[in-house]
Each structure stands twice: as structure tokens, then as C-alpha cells.
């Protein structure tokens, strides 16, 4: 009877966590869509959305309603089933990592001891969904976008893994809560500045954000892999992109910026610090997007293979040496 109660409790806990996570994903897309448009506007010294609601805050909600009401068009020569599956495939892997993110000391879906590996493994499914979408569209722009995305992700996943590993070498654990707990006094962005910088650059590339947004370079490929998607298919890709931003920034927060640590972060209040750090990082990503022009493909590859990977390898080796000596 006792074990039965435990499993029931666990199932209930997971269901609630899942519902909360999906809510966070959708609200995050709304907030980030609004922030992106506002920050972009302010950088270009415009107003941005101003018409609906105070300062236009309802704009994204109305856009959502409009986009849901739109017709789902499947191109005639597309692979119908795969074409329909691809947006769902891009949405699923961005929801799962939220379950292991430590929002506060006692606010985490499930603290598994391989949390970091789980996040990296699940979020790399995203590139598969992009490739599936590009392939199923049966369109040269979509296919080019998909191929670019794959080669870009292969290049940038290596520095991400190497920079995260150099943190794991210090903490001796993959558990997200464990990594946060190890940063009670000093954040790892001070201990591992090179890894932190490499992670932030590669994470921008990993989420296909500007200046690394070659898979959806609108001047060359109309919209890249989601050219043929309309209505909710398109919006699922957009929601996934913003959720992906949240995940990479949350991982950066957990690994380099002390997670939920901060003044007055008790059992649950740490969530405010966590969200503050995540949103500051995401604002930085928006700021970067509206500052730099898109890189050329050879520049993209040069940056990864000539700079990020050697630097992260050296950093990893040095970290290993120092950890071993101490």
C-alpha cells in the first residue's frame, strides 16, 4: 500500500509539473515575443507595438489568436505525414528539459542525477525536427535551411559539451541541483570565464539565433526550414525557438551564474532570482541579435572549428589538470 501511494504521488507530481512546464513554455513565448519586438524597436529608436493594451502588451496574445485561426496549408508535393509531424517533433524536446531545471531549492520537476546529460540529449532532437521539416517541405529553400542547421549544430555542439564538461569536472556531478549547490559562494562564471563565454556564443548558434541564424536567413532562404509552414505549425516552431532560448539561458544560469542563489532565496523564493537571471541572459541574446549582422557560412564554421573548439579543449585540459593537482 505504501509503495502504491508513492507511485500515485509521483505520477501526480509529474502531471502537475508537466502542466506547469507547458504553461511556462507558452507564456515564455508570449513574453519573449513581446520583449523581442520592444527591444528591437527601441534599438532602432521606434516604439514597437503600441496599439493593443497599455504599451501594446496584448499584441502577442492577439497575434496568437490570429495565427491559430489560420489555415494549415500542406504543399502539394510535400511528404504529408512527416510535414505534419515536424512541428510537434520540434515542440516536444523543448518541453522535456524544463522538467529537470531547478527553479528553486524545492521547485524542480525531478532532480535526476544525469540532469545535464538529459537536457543536452533531449534538446539535440530539435535539430532533427528542423531537418525533418526541411526535408518534408520538398522545397529547395527549406532543404538548404535544414542542411545548414544540421552542419551548424554539429559544429557548435562540441564546444557546448566541452565547456559544460569543464564545469562538471569541478562539481563532480551532472545533477542540476548539485551544480547549483556547488555555487553557494562563488559563481562558476568567475571560476570558468572562458567556458562561460564559449558556452554563451555556442548557445546562440545552437538556438539558431542571429548572428548565427543561417538556417532561416530570410534574405537568402525566405524563411529556411519553416518556409512552407502556416498557422499553428509555424507558431509551434516559434514557440520552440523561444523555449529553446529559455533552456540554453537556464542552463547557463545553472552552470555559470549560480542558479537560484541570491539574497533571500529561501525554499521557494529562489525562483525569482532564477527567472531574473534567465531573462537578463535572454535580453542579452536579443540585444546581440539586433546588434550584429548575420555571419557568412565560412565565418560560422571558422569560428567554431578554429576558435571555440581549440579554446574549449585547452580550457578543459587545464581544468582537469588543476582539479587533479588540487
Amino acid at each position: 500500500m505504501d509503495t502504491m501511494q508513492m507511485t500515485l504521488y509521483d505520477v501526480l507530481r509529474m502531471v502537475i509539473a508537466f502542466l506547469l512546464v507547458i504553461t511556462i513554455v507558452f507564456i515564455n513565448a508570449l513574453v519573449m515575443g513581446y520583449l523581442e519586438r520592444k527591444v528591437a524597436a527601441k534599438i532602432q529608436r521606434r516604439w514597437g507595438p503600441m496599439e493593443v493594451g497599455l504599451q501594446g502588451w496584448l499584441q502577442m496574445v492577439l497575434d496568437g489568436v490570429k495565427i491559430i485561426a489560420k489555415q494549415l496549408i500542406v504543399p502539394r508535393d510535400a511528404d504529408r505525414v512527416v510535414f505534419r509531424v515536424a512541428p510537434l517533433l520540434s515542440f516536444t524536446p523543448v518541453v522535456l528539459p524544463f522538467l529537470v531545471l531547478p527553479f528553486a531549492k524545492n521547485l524542480v520537476g525531478r532532480d535526476i542525477n544525469l540532469g545535464l546529460i538529459f537536457i543536452i540529449a533531449v534538446s539535440s532532437i530539435n535539430v532533427l525536427s528542423i531537418f525533418v521539416a526541411g526535408w518534408a517541405s520538398n522545397n529547395k529553400y527549406s532543404l538548404f535551411g535544414a542542411v545548414r542547421s544540421v552542419s551548424q549544430n554539429i559544429a557548435y555542439e562540441i564546444p557546448i559539451l566541452l565547456s559544460l564538461l569543464s564545469v562538471v569536472l569541478i562539481t563532480h556531478t551532472y545533477s542540476m541541483q548539485g551544480i547549483v549547490a556547488a555555487q553557494g559562494t562563488v559563481w562558476f562564471c568567475l571560476v570558468q570565464p572562458v567556458a562561460c563565454l564559449i558556452y554563451l556564443v555556442s548557445a546562440t548558434a545552437e538556438t539558431n539565433r542571429a548572428p548565427f541564424d543561417l538556417p532561416e536567413a530570410e534574405s537568402e532562404l525566405t524563411a529556411g526550414y519553416h518556409t512552407e509552414y502556416s498557422g499553428f505549425g509555424f507558431s509551434l516552431f516559434m514557440i520552440a525557438e523561444y523555449a529553446n532560448m529559455f533552456i540554453v539561458c537556464a542552463v547557463a544560469t545553472v552552470l555559470f551564474f549560480g542558479g537560484w542563489h541570491g539574497p533571500f532565496s529561501g525554499e521557494y523564493l529562489g525562483v525569482l532570482w532564477f527567472l531574473l537571471k534567465v531573462f537578463l541572459l535572454m535580453l542579452t541574446m536579443i540585444w546581440v541579435r539586433w546588434t550584429y549582422p548575420r555571419v557568412r557560412f565560412d565565418q560560422l564554421m571558422n569560428l567554431a572549428w578554429k576558435y571555440l573548439i581549440p579554446f574549449s579543449l585547452v580550457n578543459l585540459l587545464l581544468t582537469a589538470l588543476i582539479v587533479k593537482c588540487i
Binding site: 527591444v39 524597436a41 527601441k42 534599438i43 532602432q44 529608436r45 521606434r46 516604439w47 503600441m50 540585444w287 546581440v288 539586433w290 546588434t291 550584429y292 578554429k306 576558435y307
Partner: protein, 146 residues
Amino acid sequence: MSGYFSDLITGSKSLLVGLGVTLKALVSPVVTVQYPREKIDVSPAFRGHIDLMKDETTGTHRCIVCLSCMKACPCQCITVEGEKQEGVKGKVLTLFTLDFTKCSLCGLCVESCKPHAIDFSDEYELAGFSREEFFYDLLKRVKERA
């Protein structure tokens, strides 16, 4: 290998400069004017359609019906008529119309006007639904303003 580290340093420096430029733009005031709700002053060099100017001393227009604007107009869009009246020196203006559909805003009428009775107005919200809305009775307009 040469230039590997110098590329890295100059590149990083220029990236930081770029971030500084956008940060400065982010905190500087917005330049967009929310047009229907707020308006900015029209430049004095703006050429609207012509209008009869009101003389502040007499409280009316200064037109002497010399018809030089009518003659100068290459589009023949100005019609001026006047008549002799008892006890008044010279002619008195009875009709001054502008067919703005034909006007090319060349300004020859304004240049030719010796008493400086006509000048460019600063009106720019001139959309209309019919041709007739652009046949202006300038005499009526100056009287309405008086």
C-alpha cells in the same frame, strides 16, 4: 597561424563597440512620432497649396486683383475676379479659387504676387473622396479665418 590571436582581439573589440552602439540607441529617446495622435510643426519651407494671407493690420487679405498670379500660373488653376466698388480705390476681390487637382506647386504665383497676398499654407492632411473637394475657395477661407 599568423594573425590568429590578433584577429581574435580586434574582432572581440569591434563586437564590444557594436554592442555599445546599440546600447546607446536602446536608452536614447524614440524618434518616431505617433502621427494621428501627435504632430510636429511643419517646416517653414514646406509648400502646401496657396492661401490668401491675412494682413494683421487690416484684418483682411491684401489682394489688389492685378491678376498676375492668374497669368503666371502654367496650369491655369487660379481664377481671380474683382469689381469696382463705390468709394474704394482700385478693384475689390470677389472670387479667388484654386483648382488644386491641377496645381503643380511651382510657386510662380507666390513669386509674382507684388503685395504678397498669397503664400504657401502649411496644410498637409489633404486626402479627399471627390474631385470637388480640391476646388478651394480661398476668399471664403481667408474670411473664415478672419
